[in-house]
């Protein structure tokens, strides 16, 4: 494979930089299609939505701090908890954990120069942004969605929620799921076809395995929620009667479709957390991960089993015992792959040489918090226990332990780990520790308390409660933890901006990590890799031969990437990627207009399709030169 480099490096670098350069300036911003830029946008936008969702959470805890508290009334409270849940799930957790980390990291870890379908990827970002703004515009105009993040019918239907509140919610779903699907296709294709030569399936870094499984889960799960939110929209705008029991519609059908998406969604949020764990732990234990094959098997099993457990959200609807028991068994079964991963991580730490640096500290937070969430999940899997604790603060405690434990703690681990790659500068360790301990303590004070509230009978989604229920002490305690969490997040933000300008320079590989993103400078250049790498093991940098060959034969003057086959990543042909373009942005605007118009009038679909078609024509217009023939090339 090894070939002599045809052109000296010094002359190649400016050619590559020119080829892959993304336009600058104001208009350039809208034309950028490089995955590092789009990935950072996903992360920053999702983080802003996280802060906004956190503000809503703080308002709710303020309202619930004392009985009969009059901070906000029921109408605003219902909008706030709906927008909080929808923001955290659809606008923060998935876009951050799947799209943000995935789009930024996957091409780098694959060892290629851009993501597959870069324009689709840019389009996905704009669509996501508009969807988020739509939901929040509704809230700020005091017509926010108010039927819960699950929007159960008939409460969210035309009879009980007149106006446009539920439509904002349902259409936000369409926006974010189109975005997630576009990114899922890009990421799956990148992983399957753009991997560096030598990165065969059985050497693929675990994070790529998990991103692949998540992409597949997105592709199978998201259509269910898009279908159900569209059925709701049609019930509301063109008088279909899918969910109207008076004329034979079915309210449980909504729940089945929603949770058929909703439970895989939990794994779409949690698996990126395990991906970060399986990436970070080996680096700070200075060894390869223990149990690569069991972990891959577990991840794939989780992705599949995740589709077989949705009914455990519906145990209280009175389904037959036999079918409920089946879903109890399926739910308990999904504990096994997660337990396997936990044991493998423990073994990695046990037989490694632990260095408790910031990302690893957050990993231990993840172990502790997610463990509690997983164990209370075992309780919820049991049908009789579920009858008692379902829809109470016990469940609120449970899923915050699972989601904050399974996504937010790994997210902070990942941010402390990869921000040096993104900004080129190290984060401050002391501030990072302060952030961790504040957040960890505040989180447990707030959410552990909620288990007791649930057992003492406090239902979810109540805007107030009477003093006769004797819930005030625990509620006040739960609310007080918010202050610590909020302070922790502020410390993080201060740390970020401080480090971004004045942090220690990171260099290409500050942690001595083994995956390919650490082979390039921090931040990565526009073309990612000067020399496309080849791979000799599961941790490419650790397992590299002393004279590890590089890929040659790609043209430097057009944006080409190497396409390899899915199983063995044997080089197959070269593929030319499209350059920067304004069309994805214009197409996203046209699609947004059509989507939002269709809330107000069904004609929005018909007339709105015209600009969509026009922008797609512009997007697909031939580029003037024919791409170079896609023939296998000696590499």
């Amino acid at each position: 494979m090894s070939q002599q480099v045809a052109v000296p490096e010094s002359t190649r670098e400016p050619i590559l930089a020119r080829t892959w350069r993304q336009p600058g300036g104001f208009w350039g911003w809208f034309q950028n299609v490089h995955h590092t830029a789009i990935g950072v946008r996903f992360m920053v936008t999702a983080f802003i939505f996280f802060l906004l969702g956190g503000v809503l959470a703080a308002i709710m805890r303020w309202q619930l701090a004392t009985p009969e508290h009059g901070v906000i009334g029921p109408d605003l409270y219902n909008q706030i908890f709906t927008v909080h849940g929808s923001t955290m799930i659809f606008l923060f957790a998935v876009p951050m954990m799947f799209q943000g980390f995935g789009v930024y990291l996957v091409p780098l870890i694959c060892g290629t120069r851009n993501i597959a379908f870069p324009r689709l990827n840019a389009f996905s970002y704009y669509v996501y942004l508009v969807g988020g703004l739509l939901l929040w515009a509704g809230l700020l105009l005091r017509t926010g969605a108010d039927a819960g993040w699950f929007a159960y019918v008939p409460l969210s239907g035309p009879e009980f929620t007149p106006g446009k509140r539920s439509d904002f919610w349902a259409q936000m779903i369409t926006f974010t799921e189109v975005s997630a699907l576009g990114v899922a296709v890009s990421i799956a294709t990148t992983i399957l076809r753009y991997r560096a030569p030598g990165m065969t399936l059985n050497r693929m870094p675990l994070i790529l395995w998990e991103k692949l499984v998540i992409s597949m889960a997105v592709i199978f799960a998201m259509p269910a929620v898009m279908v159900v939110s569209y059925m709701l929209l049609m019930d509301r705008t063109i008088n279909t009667q899918f969910f109207n029991p008076a004329v034979g519609g079915d309210v449980l059908l909504y729940q089945h479709l929603f949770w058929f998406f909703g439970h895989p969604e939990v794994y779409i949020i949690f698996l990126p957390g395990t991906a970060i764990a399986s990436t970070v732990i080996p680096v700070f234990c200075r060894r390869h991960i223990f149990g690569y094959v069991p972990i891959v098997t577990s991840v794939v099993a989780t992705g599949i089993l995740g589709f077989g457990v949705w009914v455990h959200h519906m145990f209280a609807t009175g389904l037959p015992q036999m079918s409920e028991s089946f879903f109890t068994a399926a739910t308990l079964m999904i504990v096994i792959p997660t337990a396997v991963q936990f044991y493998c991580w423990m073994a990695t730490i046990w037989h490694g040489r632990l260095q408790l640096m910031l990302p690893m500290l957050w990993m231990f937070g993840f172990f502790f918090v997610f463990l509690i969430g997983g164990l209370s999940g075992v309780m919820l899997a049991s049908v009789p226990l579920n009858w008692q604790v379902h829809d109470t603060f016990f469940v609120v405690a449970h899923f915050h332990y699972v989601l904050i434990g399974g996504a937010l703690f790994p997210m902070f681990a990942g941010l402390y780990f990869w921000i040096p790659k993104i900004t080129g500068r190290m984060m401050n360790t002391l501030l990072g520790k302060v952030h961790f301990w504040l957040f960890f303590a505040g989180f447990n004070i707030t959410f552990f308390t909620m288990h007791f509230l649930g057992l003492r009978g406090m239902p979810r989604r109540v805007y107030t409660y009477g003093p006769e229920m004797h819930w005030e002490g625990l509620n006040l305690l739960a609310s007080s933890g918010v202050l610590l969490m909020a302070t922790g997040v502020i410390v993080f933000i201060v740390n970020f901006f401080h480090s971004k300008s004045r942090g220690r320079l990171a260099g290409p590989n500050p942690w001595g990590a083994g995956s390919l993103e650490w082979a390039v400078s921090s931040p990565p250049p526009a073309y990612n890799f000067l020399e496309l790498p080849t791979v000799n093991g599961r941790e490419p940098l650790w397992d590299a031969l002393p004279n590890q060959p590089v890929v040659t034969g790609l043209r430097d003057d057009i944006p080409e990437v190497l396409v390899t086959n899915s199983l063995d990543s044997e080089p197959q042909h070269r593929d030319e990627l499209p350059p920067a373009s304004i069309w994805p942005f214009l197409a996203a605007i046209a699609v947004s207009v059509a989507f939002i118009w269709s809330i107000f009038s069904p004609w929005g679909v018909a007339y709105g399709a015209i600009p969509v078609a026009a922008t797609l024509l512009g997007w697909l217009w031939p580029r003037g030169h024919s791409p170079s023939p896609r023939v296998p090339e000696e590499v």
Binding site: G73, P74, D75, N78, Y152, L155, F160, P245, G249, D250, V251, L252, R286, F290, P294, A316, G318, E324, S325, A329, L332, V335, I336, A339, V340, Y343, C344, M346, A347, I349, W350, H351, G352, L354, Q355, L356, F364, I372, L375, M379, A381, S382, V383, P384, L385, W387, H390, D391, T392, L455, G457, R460, R461, V462, Y463, G466, P467, E468, W511, G512
Partner: protein, 335 residues
Amino acid sequence: MTLARLHSGLALLAQFTGEHNSLHPAGPQASGIEWLYWVVFWITFAAFVLVVAGFTRAAVRNRSSTSEMLPLVRDLEGDRRASWAVGTAVFITVLTLFAVLFMSIITGKKVEGLTSKNPVTIQITGHQWWWEAVYPNTQADQTITTANEIHVPVGKPVVILTNSADVIHSFWAPSVHGKRDLLPGYSSAFWIQIDKPGTYAGRCAEFCGLQHAHMGFSIVAEDQDTFQRWEAQQLKPAVEPNSSETVRGRQVFLTHACVMCHTIRGTDAGSRMGPDLTHVGSRRMIAAETLPNTPGALAAWIIDPQRSKPGNKMAPNLLNPGDLGALVTYLGTLQ
């Protein structure tokens, strides 16, 4: 006057002792679930301790405090031992999960396995935001209709039939049983039994709109004789007014908006939009357990129901003080 009475009523409310706790069971259903809860709790607690101990031990074992980049470890012998340890741990996990599954199914069967030849049957219908309770009978005049306060005999199996008039609600009295959703378009049935006399609080557990928080009910479990006396009393039509004040009160009721939504059997008021008020004076609370049934709270409620329960479906009634007093007195006599 109303404010002072409202405060005294709220003080009364604070002493409200309806049990509302999953872990203070009052009957076989809740105690079966409580038993399962504690078994699973101790299993998960043990798992928690073991895993945390494992991670702690792993962390302190080879911890290196240097921030220098250390060389990579290769420990084939350690990996071989780890394979055994991980395999054993997975095996134990699987066995434990089977145990949980088994106990869960057994408990489920036990909790649902109540039968009785001639049980008390109660049809519960959820409304935004109150509970209609009907004790059906083949003879129409033997059917009891009441709201929010459900009476059951102690120690006897009771069948609850569920339905909803509008959106999804969930019927939940934690000391009695787990929750059951009330779905429009579906009816379902489940058994409860209460073994200790007393009052047990319940709430709506499925988000149902603006006043989901104020959708309470109570279950009063009493001995057979008291229950039968209560039944007999509830079957009677409303008490005839016996003073000029109560006659005036009934007149106010029948000539104002009240009749648009409420029933008082024995009068011309027969609408079923809101709770049946034939025996409203016998109930301890009003507005789905939001306020105590005191004259002051009742008067405040009638004047401005949107104040304590904003968004509920009852309109304000601008009555003059004389009319209001008479109406409250009349409603108070409807025992």
